[in-house]
């Protein structure tokens, strides 16, 4: 079976673990070998979170090598920079351009990278960038939808992960996990599929 490695990063509270969990459950249901390895740091809201997902091989070490990930998913602009090193040369990088400012940045005591800087670092390793703006996140019945499901919709629409995990299977996983809110989740996933991509600034 073809192997496929995914490196996910973001900030605790953004639902990074949930994206990885949904991919893992979908792979499990389809009988695709999967290893899901979260690193939560001190498990807090606001801290750096990463997950390494390795699909397609049952006897696999949990850690992805530098330059080994077929796909990177980042839920936060600055944290994306911690994942660039792990992207395969020429791999795909889905960036949700959301700012989660650390306190020092809020107080004007530390710099925060602009989108072009992050984009250029990804491009420097030959990465194909798919960038979404958090400003395009739609509302459902007046409330903003969950951005992690939105991002997942875009991942499934844009990247080669669909060769292994078709959108339909993901829809089933999500519906089974949250049976009471299928309508909003279906709406969010579909909005993600159709999410506009940003151009290099």
């Amino acid at each position: 079976m073809q192997t496929y490695d995914i490196y996910l990063v973001g900030v605790g509270g953004q639902g990074v673990l949930t994206i990885a969990d949904l991919i893992t459950r979908t792979a499990f249901r389809k009988g695709i070998p999967v290893n899901y390895y979260p690193t939560k740091g001190m498990a807090q809201r606001g801290g750096f979170v990463k997950v390494q997902l390795r699909l397609g091989s049952s006897e696999v070490g949990p850690d992805i090598s530098e330059g080994g990930a077929d796909l990177v998913i980042s839920m936060e602009r600055s944290e994306a920079l911690k994942a660039v090193r792990f992207l395969k040369t020429g791999g795909e990088f889905l960036l949700y351009d959301h700012r989660w400012n650390p306190a020092a940045v809020m107080l004007g005591k530390a710099p925060y990278p602009d989108l072009a800087t992050v984009w250029d670092e990804i491009a420097a390793v030959g990465g194909k960038v798919y960038a979404l703006s958090d400003k395009d996140l739609p509302a459902y019945e007046g409330r903003p939808v969950r951005d992690n499901i939105y991002v997942l919709g875009s991942v499934l629409a844009q990247t080669k992960i669909t060769d292994i995990l078709p959108l339909k299977d993901m829809e089933e996983t999500i519906a089974a996990r949250w049976p009471k809110v299928t309508a909003v989740n279906a709406f969010t996933l579909e909005a993600g599929e159709k999410a506009p991509l940003l151009a290099h600034p």
Binding site: V11, T24, R25, F28, P33, V34, N35, Y36, Y37, P38, T39, G41, M42, A43, Q44, R45, G46, G47, F48, S58, E59, V60, G61, P62, D63, I64, S65, E66, G67, G68, S78, E79, L81, K82, V84, R85, T89, N101, P102, A103, A104, V105, M106, L107, A110, P111, Y112, P113, T117, V118, E121, I122, A124, V125
Partner: protein, 619 residues
Amino acid sequence: MEKMLLSGNEAVAYGALAAGVKTVAGYPGTPSTEMIESLLKMDLPGTNVEWSTNEKVAFEVAAGGALLGYPTMCTMKMTGVNVAYDSLISIAYSGCTGALVIYVVDDPGVSAGMAEQDTRGFALISDLPVLEPSTLQEAYDMTKYAFKLAKAIQGPVFLRSVTSLSQSHGVVEVEPRVLPETGHPLMERNMDKYTKAGAKICMDQHQDLLNRLTKAGEIIAADGINQLHLGAADGAGVIAVGVANAYLKEACQKLAAAGVDVSQLSTLALHNTLPYDDGDIEKLLQHCSRILVAEELEPFTENRVILDAYKLGKKVEILGKNDGTYARINYYNAETLIKGLCKLLAVPVPESLAKRDIQPEAHCAARPITVCAGCPHRGTYIAMEKAIKKLGLKKSDVFITGDIGCTILGTTPPFEVLWTEVAMGASIPLAQGVVYAGTEHPVLASIGDSTFFHAGMPGLVNALQHNINLTLVIMDNYWTAMTGMQINANTMQSEQIHGWHALDLEQVLKGLGVPDLKLADPYDTEDMAAKLADSMQYEGVSVVLARRECAIQARRRKVTYTPVKLIAEKCVKCKRCITISGCPALQFEDGVMKLDPTQCNGCGICTDLCKPGALVKEG
């Protein structure tokens, strides 16, 4: 057999159930916590599962069952072995009739912020076998095997995992639980075995221990736990231990794809390090002229390979940590193996697998962590700062020892009031030492509730007996929080399970005869600061018990506080609330203060800091 999606820790739990485990005891510690946590969620009549007061207690509880002939297990993180070791080595020498398995998770790469120590060093000193699974399925299978081996040798066995394996989730095939045996406990009163009364008894036990280790080696060899594959004669060989085996496979696939011939490699896949597999190591040494040893952390196996080569009188070049091929720190991945294999084969790392010269992290915003929104002990740290100020002192005047757990967040911005993070319970005796050293100003120690019961009490008893002039702040939040909210002796009675009893920390302190004991609510920083300043001036042992439930747990339990409101027009953008509290619910974006109502729990600490009254309690 059922296929389940399990973590490494859960796989070990299911393995223990399939081995008919009678008792499982442990102390929470990342990366090992989920093993007991998963068992506590199950209904397991006939099996005793508990969070013990500390790792030594957990080991002793497990050992007691094994003395009576039953399969038992204890679990801890790597630094927990330091705590358990006194009894562990004694029982290692005594042996036990039931299977006693010690599950420890080491943390190469330090994801959990403790000493990057290698448990195998402890196993070497206590002459105990060590099993090292390399995959999730092996974590399950080898747990079962550990019980079998322990029973066969009549002594404890270490099951050693690492963070990456224990925290990974994947598909594991598990068998149904085997119900623990009941009745007919073995009442063996054997002074020669279970006491250390006299030199003869002790030396006989030492010899018996060595015999058990030899026997373990014979059983492991007979069961084919390690796999030797011989490739080209006089060629290159690799010895990989535990998870390094999975990375060896991946590295070989990548190298082969990049045109490097790895087909002639000899390999020895080790799933146990101790006793050393001298038989297979010698065969490999006889067969190869160059050998790479890949094991995370300390070069225990590698050093043995060098010794075995010396004993054989065979000149073999050995690559590993002694020659600088590998470092003794950090975790491995396929890249680590690729680097070692290329050096072993004397070929350059293929262009497609070579490290790229990039530094993307250089642009990354630092993201230090702090206590959660609503954490009561944000108030404790602020009160400490206020009390220091009240006494006309500076933070640099007042030595405050820290302990282990969430309390370490007092070492980092914005508080930076704690000076040390050493070991469970170390804060109080360290503070006593600081007092003895003769500082001019008050000395404080700070510790959490679970840590206080774990190893803090002996230090307090010592300070009380010797009438030391120090102030202890117990940062009570009712839970073992940092590891994910486990129940401890101090957790409220309504949250205790399985008929467990809550101990009242205040009564314990009163019972110890603490001469100056004050209760404080850390949400009331002004009141707590006044009490603390008073205690700091007390001559003798003073204790401030700062009590308030962990905000995360309080929210889960539907404890609610009056929400905080931000009156935008009153905000003067001084940002004092953020600079002093560091509360993640407070944000300053695009020149405007914001209060995130999904994070704010209404603790109200920020309302005390806001001079213009822009942050107020609603209603």
